[in-house]
Amino acid sequence: MNEGEAALAAPRTYRRALSGGWFLSRRSYFLYVVRELTVVFMVAWLAWFLYEVLLLKQNAFTSLSGNYVVLAFSAVCLFFTLWHAITFLNLSGLILRVPLGDRFAPPSAIKALSFGGLIGATLVGGAVMIYLGYVKL
């Protein structure tokens, strides 16, 4: 087999194969992967919540007050949910193109509205959820 035939038999590839730990080679890659995996904690918390609903349906629900296992689990999930929220809403100014006459609304305004929504929902939603605990039944 001459050199040309050998090259045809085993052509050189210009696509570099990624190793399993490619995301450990650079900090930005690692942060990207962490952002992708924040959904695991969001889904885990919702799964736990649905389990509590199931317990309620089976008349087995007990108060969570003083349950520090739930507190620790929820604190971790909240941390990653906020990571998702901040990184996701940070991109809103680039992604959402809102026409304003013959221009687009400035990205900084879109971003401010998005974070305003997060803060507003936290304040209003939080107040409602806490108020419901004080309702006399």
Partner: protein
Amino acid sequence: MSTSDRHWHQRADLKPDYGHSLWWFMFANGGAIAAILLPVTILVAGVLGPLGVPNWMEDARHFGWTLSNPLIKLYLAVLIFLTFIHAAHRIRYALFDFGLRGSVVALEWACYGLAIVATVAAIALIVFTP
């Protein structure tokens, strides 16, 4: 005018991939809904509740009474549905990034299928509780 002379958006042989756009649409909306509504839900029920702050999951009576409200059921159904779809989309692409590239179609069916089945089960549970 030949096909190659036209811009891509003028070519009649290229059709929009509506299936693809549907998942991306729900991914984006799910991400926004989860980003805005999920933090406060976890904060109040999962963090402040165990610390002793009264809330809608204070005890079985308050939890059941709150869950009997159709608006609360709707809120939870939307939050769960869109978060699950968002998660399925992210996990599908994360697995691709991690090197699982053998069967993209099987991966899509697994991720989106699981999200839809989980959503249906969750909504059934919420609708029929208490």
